[in-house]
């Protein structure tokens, strides 16, 4: 259907999550699109309702009541088009209900075509359950056993550049056919398999996968040359298959697809789309993070290249125990500025895991949860940096100067020094009692360098805006800038290491705020700058420190204020905390005080 963008004044968007369906209303006010009302209701995919549209109608009804606008008809459908104070002109939706989209991918070489296939699947918003490749160090029968155990919604096979290996690609297909993976939706479900590999191997692959339980689709090679990735066709096909097969098996989605004016997208795919749109429009590098109870999604756009990773078992409730196991308790506790009993903490972590909806009551409990969050975010970002790399396997011209360099391609494209904007979303970041805590969780775990703006997604509307950006980019970017992001402030951080207390850099701030100061190694300082204030900061680092212009070179940055202000971070990069527990606690205590993170901790409560 064609949409007349000129006549769209009222937009309704929903995001059907695993537990909650969130609806927002966007209205054109004085020629500008603004998000005006929001509502939510429990998602109704599971029994006894088993129909996603019931939750959608409930959430939309709540928005309608708040807005004084009749958005639903008597039969629960969406009231379209808008007439006077009733109805809406456009309805769009995303979904991650029922566990989202779960995929298995396969490629010939783990670091090359299999990595590209994984990027395509993640970029489309999927959870990648496993990556099978000929060099993944598992023996073929172990790979087959693994394929048997998984219950994916679809499989993506890549492998071989165009005109390259055929044999290895067909071998992959020959592993999948006898394994006969069981889909989540029961034995009647035809397993969609997308082949996006060497086009010369397509007919052989088709032959190898000629089974009545397979629905094979062949698309353009996602790695036609070693130097080139072509993820678009595979991603589009994944979205098509998601709609045709996966969503069609989720209760009520056929009806929801009828209601929506644009294809329903997987929630993380939509978040990726809005971040790409903004990065392109502003010509900036962006990192976004969404930390949930079970998983942490990291999105990045550097020099126009988009990457997304899902850390499946890093989260704050269902996965909190896994964060502590992976990070280890000493690493979690280094972010806590007082003593805690480890045996007791271990029990607390497990109790949170088995009763995931409880909330921290005491300050001590909150501080511990935020320490866990720092480690979850840090680990998720490490995984993201390892994944978001330049293409591996590409021949590189090397000069004499590179003789002693060990780099062989596949370097991370994530560069914290060129990062312009870091966006936070997810419970522990969004619902922190004060935003200084949100800002410091971001700074401590992502370690931005140079000058970086910090923001948070006010009410997690990035998924809605992602779908909207595909239909109405102007409305999406207006709402994103005005209503979606809450700017926390700017972080100025020096890269490099030095001696505690020795000069790191001098700075001078001029503009709406005028100030100057000295930042010694180990210092962390907060300068008041309100959201409407901007200024230019001139930094003069000593040798060994870089703030964006190079080692020891002066640099100036435009900085903006926010609900937190301007953070001057002289703790160095990579950020290392003192090994000695007592010394670490002392440093943390100073930083906590300087950043006004927490009120005085009640020792009686801490030991209760």
């Amino acid at each position: 259907m064609t949409i007349d963008l000129e006549n769209i004044n009222v937009i309704l968007a929903t995001d059907c999550g695993s537990t909650t369906t969130k609806a927002i209303l966007i209205e054109k006010i004085d020629g500008q699109y603004r998000q005006t009302y929001r509502g939510e209701a429990p998602t109704t995919v599971e029994k006894p309702f088993a129909n996603v549209t019931i939750g959608v109608t409930n959430a939309v009804t709540e928005v309608g009541e708040l807005a004084g606008r009749k958005l639903t008809n008597e039969d629960g459908t969406i009231n379209q088009p808008a007439q006077g104070d009733d109805g809406c002109d456009l309805y769009i939706s995303t979904s991650s209900a029922g566990g989202g989209l779960q995929m298995m991918v396969a490629g010939v070489i783990a670091e090359m075509t299999a990595a590209s296939a994984k990027r395509a699947a993640l970029g489309a918003g999927a959870i990648v359950m496993d990556v099978i490749s000929t060099n993944d160090k598992r023996r073929p029968h172990e790979q087959i056993q693994r394929i048997r155990e998984l219950r994916p919604d679809m499989i993506l096979i890549s492998g071989g550049t165009d005109g390259g290996t055929t044999e290895k690609v067909v071998q992959l297909a020959e592993l999948i056919a006898p394994a006969k993976p069981q889909p989540r939706f029961g034995s009647e479900y035809e397993m969609p398999i997308i082949f996006a590999g060497n086009k010369m191997a397509a007919s052989e692959v088709e032959l190898a996968l000629q089974e009545d339980w397979i629905d094979l689709a062949i698309v353009e090679n996602l790695r036609p040359k070693l130097e080139q990735e072509n993820l678009g066709p595979a991603r589009d096909k994944i979205h098509d298959v998601f709609l045709e097969h996966v969503m069609a098996h989720a209760p009520g989605y056929d009806m929801l697809m009828d209601w929506a004016d644009a294809p329903i997208m997987p929630t993380p795919g939509a978040v990726g789309d809005i971040l790409q749109t903004i990065a392109k429009k502003e010509n900036i590098n962006v990192v976004g993070v969404d930390i949930g109870g079970a998983t942490t999604d990291v999105f990045s756009v550097f020099e126009g290249t988009f990457n997304r990773t899902v850390s499946a078992n890093l989260g704050m409730s269902y996965s909190i125990s896994n964060v502590c196991a992976e990070a280890t308790m000493p690493n979690v506790l280094r972010w806590v500025h007082f003593d805690m009993d480890e045996r007791q903490l271990r029990n607390r972590v497990k109790n949170k895991m088995i009763r995931p909806t409880t909330i921290p009551q005491s300050l001590e409990s909150l501080i511990f949860e935020q320490a866990v969050a720092r480690e979850a975010l840090r680990l998720a970002y490490i995984q993201h940096k390892e994944f978001a790399t330049t293409l591996k396997g590409v021949q590189q011209q090397r000069t004499v100067g590179d003789t002693f360099s060990q780099q062989t391609g596949g370097n991370t494209i994530v560069n914290n020094m060129t990062l312009n904007l870091l966006v936070a979303s997810g419970g522990v970041l969004s619902h922190a009692p004060n935003m200084n805590q949100t800002a410091m969780m971001l700074v401590d775990s992502f370690e931005p360098e140079g000058c970086t703006d910090l923001a948070k997604d006010s009410i997690f509307m990035m998924p809605h805006l992602g779908v909207l950006s595909a239909v109405h980019p102007e409305a999406a970017s207006q709402v994103f800038e005005r209503d979606c992001l809450v700017y926390l402030g700017t972080c100025i951080a020096a890269k490099g290491l030095g001696k505690e207390g020795k000069l790191c850099f001098n700075w001078t701030l001029s503009g709406d705020v005028n100030a100057s100061g000295t930042c010694n190694f180990g210092d962390l300082e907060l300068i008041d700058m309100t959201p409407d204030q901007t200024a230019t900061i001139l930094c003069d680092p000593v040798r060994g420190f870089d703030l964006g212009a190079g080692n020891g070179k002066k640099v100036s940055h435009e900085v903006r204020g926010g609900t937190v202000g301007l953070i001057i971070d002289g703790r160095g990069r990579p950020l290392g905390l003192p090994e000695d527990r007592q010394q670490c606690q002392m440093s943390m205590k100073t930083w906590v005080e300087n950043m006004a993170l927490y009120e005085e901790i009640d020792v009686a409560v801490a030991t209760a």
Partner: protein
């Protein structure tokens, strides 16, 4: 009124319980509707296709892939023994032939002339499904499985380790707040489902395993002890497949926490009865909790109301499930409607709880669960 958080744990003295017993693939169902079965009786069996062994025959014989088919000594579907020759090169003038002997017992499934790969399928793997609970077969799904139904007393735990087992209920403690230690485990507990009170200690698990107890049930356990028992730090709460020789279930949570009196008393009432237990736990979409199922005589005795959460009302008994008051029992004293600023600085809806000591504390509504004392 507000709904109290509850993990939805069911504790009841009588209910109809159906256990669906299914084969992973089609096979033989050995029972018919109306049959009486006991817990460890096999009700269905089948053979799973064996493991798959791909053999890169082209490489093994050093020939092009397209020649492999003609060099195979047997066709697809032929059964071969370990060490039996399955492919042979023609050699030169009939000499210097190269044979390849099968490294496994199995059946030749496919031979590819594109990749030169031979897929050898190992012998079928027998799979047996037991009744799990003593009862009557009420439904048979031909070639797939059956449903066993029984009147049971049913208790859900909150976390468990290990899979299905059954045994006689035997108590190792006197009261619900008694810690279970190794000294309480005796040799006559072999084959038994052993009941503790509050915390299960690591030495009690070890001793129970030594004497041959099939399961250990208690109020709580320390995570440190769980780590030592498993040999690793459990990250994701998906359990049930551990092969530790014993199934362990905690009914309340982690730490030194007494078993709820209602659960303890119900188990006490059925001391000496057979119980089927399963420690499998999954805390995520499709929640699965560990269970203790005690088949009882069918009859008309009064069915107690199930304990499955409910509404917070003044005077109701509850337990606080989060620090700083974790495990403390009290009653609802007041339900202020306005959000309250917590010690953490967050705003949340709260309730006032009167503790048994007479003291009152303010607690977020998300941090309590209703109990019946």
């Amino acid at each position: 009124m507000a709904h109290a958080y509850t993990p939805g744990l069911k504790v009841t003295n009588r209910m109809k319980h159906s256990a669906v017993r299914m084969l992973p693939i089609k096979g033989d169902v050995m029972v018919k509707v109306g049959d009486s079965v006991v817990a460890d009786q096999i009700v269905a069996a089948t053979y799973m296709p064996g493991d798959v062994y791909p053999l890169n025959m082209a490489n093994l014989l050093a020939v092009p892939p397209k020649d492999v088919l003609s060099l195979m000594m047997y066709k697809e579907g032929h059964k071969v023994e370990k060490g039996e020759p399955i492919a042979e090169t023609p050699g030169i003038f009939g000499k210097f032939k190269k044979k390849y002997n099968s490294p496994y017992v199995g059946t030749i499934e496919t031979v590819s002339d594109v990749t030169g790969q031979v897929i050898l399928r190992g012998p079928d793997i027998p799979v047996e499904v037991k009744a799990y609970i003593t009862g009557t077969v009420t439904d048979v799904n031909p070639e797939i499985g059956c449903t066993v139904e029984s009147d049971v007393a049913f208790i859900q735990g909150i976390f468990g380790i290990g899979g299905e087992t059954c045994g006689t209920i035997k108590f190792a403690v006197e009261s619900s707040d008694e810690t279970l230690t190794a000294s309480s485990i005796t040799s006559d507990m072999k084959g038994c489902v052993v009941i503790g009170g509050a915390r299960i200690t690591d030495d009690s698990i070890e001793e129970a395993r030594k004497v041959g107890a099939v399961a250990l049930i208690g109020g709580g356990m320390d995570d440190q002890d769980l780590k030592e028992f498993l040999g690793y730090d459990l990250g994701v709460a998906i359990t049930g497949s551990e092969k530790k020789g014993i199934t362990v279930i905690v009914t309340e949570g982690f730490g030194d926490i007494a078993m709820a009196n209602r659960t303890f008393n119900l188990l006490k009432r059925f001391e000496g009865h057979e119980a089927s237990v399963n420690g499998a736990t999954q805390i995520r979409a499709g929640v699965m909790r560990p269970e203790i199922i005690i088949p009882i005589e069918s009859g008309d005795s009064e069915v107690e109301k199930e304990h499955e959460g409910g509404y917070l009302e003044i005077g109701k008994s509850l337990r606080i499930i989060r620090d700083p008051y974790f495990g403390i029992i009290g009653t609802v004293k007041a339900l202020p409607s306005e959000p309250h600023v917590l010690g953490s600085g967050s705003k949340a809806r709260v309730l006032e709880v009167e503790l048994k000591t007479g003291e009152s504390v303010i607690v977020p509504r998300a941090n309590v669960e209703l109990i019946e004392e």
